[in-house]
């Protein structure tokens, strides 16, 4: 069917094209209504790093980057709530690289990841809005000679009702700029919220439905050329030979530039560049990693997992409790290397001059991006301008700057703007991969079927040690046992250790859901094993271990009720549950599937119950749950990256399958009202997927999946 869509036959089956019709009234956030007062040059009011009021209107600076998760809208809502403006009165702008102003206080970097954005910004962005409002109101009150407390603000207009006067923010911006930034910034009680908690429309969507949004890959500059590249298929490999003349002979090719391990062809357009690369007749020296294979890595990991690791949790007595237990369980779980494969391939546009450089890219780490270009060009970082663009997905891939570094090295001596675009194949085969994890787990249950002791050893690469070395302390990667060492359940005898194992020939990276995605597959599958081994209902077994965790219990009960957990399933159907506390959010997932022998497992219905504390935008929470769980389910169904002879075996979406609409289940999301601090939502759904899927397969078939992806298991 998919092939049909592009067939010649379809081309010729043309129907008359409908013409005319209404034009959508869509607007960019920046084109919206402004306060009408004429203001002069001097009216620039920048009370803090996040708010700017000037001739362009009200601009909110976004400390976190928009990768599709809706953070531009949520961040704007936090500020607009206290600034007392509506979302259609503001424009939003990406923060420039500036660690002092825009560091994420949880990640200790100007970075967007780990579902921390709202948790980091919950207080500081509301304070930024409130602080600006206090100064603006103060300026108006001073001009009128009235107490500020007698003024009120609505939609960016300050009113003094006793005298019937009003002034817009723009009219008092210049005055406000001379006032002191308040030291005390009282914030609204949640009961007073008018914007937070509403399904406010996303600010970035209008430009995403009419094709006008410029992603990094859409950058166009005067005099710009287009480039694509070929990179050594094996990490550490080098170019052995190439026919540069043949590439230069291709019509539209301008230049060929190279480093030891990569070559880029620059041309008038991507097609010329691509034909140029094809014409190079490249041969490669494989280098030291020529014998790397998935099987060899796995064998090494198996060996490594037999030795003790660094102890992460030791309650004393876990091993003893298991030894004495009535029911003992031991298992090995395996989670494969994964690619991020955001739909917008890696790209980077650079204009490098003698004394400055400018970069257009979508990055989750603008300061690192700036530094990468500075180092490659020898320019000081302040001479590198970063134009951060909205991203066509990231999922952790754009937390690394290897591609920007590579682009800057290749284009170092080119003095006109060049847009370098990775083909899907070069992108996928040179991704930084989610680590392979090898987990050894054991548990003991007593006569009454109660969990009395549990051990968990994770063997795998530490992304933290590479990406944030200061957070890798005493050999412990806090991410690697997230959701494994500590669980929502009542547990008193847990032993957890970590064996760091760095595979040769590849680089590992953050991937959506990070440690939780891997560990919850293992934990929630193993919890299911415990329930079945002792003849207990999986929801009931979990419920009994949640005596001290009312929020976790509440989402579990809600999901069970909405999914109809107790209802009997027809033959061939399966139902699996997964429960988690990750990213400071509670989430229960119940998945219904159908298994027809010889056919792909069919995902039917996914029910999610979430308590992520105070909700900024319930529609964004729902969207992240829907998308997150499908991202995780598709991955668990189909995806693994494997290596042969040091090179990645997968190359594009034909052999690295992405879940399609005809394979997607129905998704229902139920949200628990809460007054707790906000938790993260961007990754929770992904982490909730694989465990529920494996448990549903067990429910349907009696077969336990302990190794992903599912497509490699005979179900």
């Amino acid at each position: 069917m998919i092939e049909n869509l592009v067939s010649r036959r379809n081309f010729l089956r043309g129907t008359a094209l409908a013409t005319a019709g209404l034009v959508l009234a869509v607007q960019l956030p920046g084109n919206t209504r402004r306060a009408s007062a004429a203001v002069g040059e001097q009216s620039k009011f920048i009370p803090n790093a996040f708010v700017k009021i000037d001739d362009d209107g009200i601009t909110l600076i976004m400390p976190h980057t928009e990768v599709g998760q809706g953070i531009y809208t949520s961040s704007a809502m936090l500020m607009a709530e206290e600034l007392e403006v509506d979302l259609d009165q503001v424009r939003v702008e990406a923060a420039p690289p500036d660690l002092k102003k825009y560091m994420d206080p949880i990640l200790f970097d100007q970075a967007t990841g780990g579902s921390t954005s709202t948790q980091s910004d919950w207080v500081r962005l509301r304070e930024a809005g409130a602080s600006a409002r206090i100064m603006l109101v103060g300026a108006a009150a001073a001009r009128w000679g009235v107490p500020a407390d007698d003024c009120r603000v609505e939609k960016g207009v300050i009113h003094h009702e006793p005298s019937g006067r009003s002034l817009s923010y723009l009219e008092v911006a210049a005055d406000a700029a001379t006032r002191e930034v308040p030291k005390q910034v009282p914030l609204k009680d949640p009961s007073q919220f008018r914007l937070i908690g509403t399904k406010a429309k996303r600010l970035d969507t209008p430009a995403k439905v009419d094709g006008s949004l410029v992603y990094g890959i859409d950058t166009r500059l005067p005099g710009m050329a287009y480039a694509t590249l070929a990179i050594a298929p094996v990490k550490g490999g080098r170019i052995a030979s190439m026919n540069e003349a043949a590439a230069r002979a291709v019509k539209g090719v301008r230049e060929v530039v190279r480093t030891d391990d990569a070559v880029a062809v620059i041309g008038d357009h991507m097609w010329a560049a691509k034909l140029g690369v094809d014409a190079l007749e490249l041969t490669w020296e494989s280098g030291p990693n020529a014998s790397v294979s998935t099987q060899a890595i796995l064998d090494d990991m198996h060996e490594a997992s037999l030795k003790p690791g660094v102890v992460v949790r030791d309650d004393n007595g876990a091993a003893e409790a298991i030894r004495k237990a009535k029911t003992k369980l031991d298992a090995v779980y395996r989670s494969p290397f994964l690619s991020h494969s955001p739909l917008e391939p890696m790209n980077c546009t650079l204009h490098i001059g003698e004394d400055r450089a400018e970069l257009w890219v979508g990055t989750q780490v603008p300061v690192r991006a700036q530094k990468a270009v500075a180092e490659a060009t020898g320019l000081p970082p302040e001479k590198v301008t970063v134009n951060n663009q909205l991203m066509g997905g990231a999922f952790g891939r754009r937390l690394d700057i290897d591609t920007i570094e590579q682009a800057a090295k290749l284009l170092r001596n080119i003095r006109y703007p060049v847009k370098l675009v990775w083909t899907r194949e070069q992108d996928l085969t040179h991704d930084f991969f989610r680590p392979y994890y090898y987990d050894r787990v054991s548990a003991g249950l007593d006569d009454a079927g109660r969990l009395v002791g549990r051990t968990h050893r994770v063997t795998g690469s530490s992304v933290m040690a590479r990406w944030a070395p200061p957070a890798f302390v005493n050999g412990i990667d806090p991410d690697s046992l997230d959701c494994a060492a500590e669980t929502p359940y009542d547990e008193s005898a847990v032993f957890a250790d970590y064996v760091r194992h760095e595979p040769e020939g590849l680089t590992t990276a953050w991937w959506r859901g990070v440690g939780a995605t891997h560990n919850l597959f293992v934990m929630e599958s193993f919890i299911d094993e415990m329930a079945h081994a002792t003849g207990q209902d999986p929801v009931d077994f979990r419920r009994k271990m949640l005596t001290k965790n009312p929020r976790a219990l509440a989402v579990l009960e809600l999901a069970a009720e909405k999914a109809g957990w107790k209802e009997k399933l027809p033959k061939g159907r399966g139902r699996g549950v997964s429960l988690q506390f990750a990213f400071n959010t509670y989430l229960a997932h119940i998945l219904d599937i159908e298994v027809v022998p010889g056919k792909q497992v069919k995902l039917l219905r996914s029910v999610l119950a979430v308590d992520c504390g105070i909700v900024i935008n319930p529609d964004t929470v729902r969207a992240q749950m829907e998308g997150g769980v499908l991202f995780g389910l598709g991955t668990a169904m189909f995806n693994e990256v494997t290596f042969t002879g040091g090179a990645v075996d997968q190359s594009n979406f034909d052999n690295y399958r992405i879940l399609r609409i005809n394979e997607a289940p129905k998704v229902e999301v139920y949200q628990v009202k809460s007054v707790e601090k906000p938790g993260g939502v961007g990754e929770a759904g992904t982490a909730a997927a694989a465990g529920a899927l494996a448990n549903a397969i067990f429910s349907a078939t009696g077969k336990r999946i302990r190794s992903l992806p599912l497509s490699q298991a005979a179900v």
Partner: protein, 149 residues
Amino acid sequence: MRKLTINGQVHEVDMPDDMPLLWVLRDVLGLTGTKYGCGIAQCGACTVHLGGIAVRSCQTTMDMIEDMPIVTIEGVSNTPIGAKVQAAWLDKEVVQCGYCQSGQIMSATALLTENPKPTDTDIDDAMAGNICRCGTYVRIREAIHSVNV
């Protein structure tokens, strides 16, 4: 010189016969709403209408176009159904990263033009060629059902 009619406008381009329409649109004409995702007709991000039919512009070369009119995401709002699809996309807040959505909207518009009341199976058949990495499928389905052609 070849004449291409794109969104009702005639463009003269001098590009090789085997050059995919995708790169002519994006790099030669500056119509960057049509996206590159895979280059092998697996993801649908590059979907445009050629003679009213949804095609993958990464596989549609210059010599295949003849005199058929081309509509891209930049021009789809000029068709009544395209405009309704875009409105439905906004109403249902379908979009996340948005990178696939040009292609999704082009495929959905082609579907609804031919079949005003598609069933879930019809939607599966027409839309399975369009990957959404963010997983907005639930809302794509809702949005298509909500369009009143």
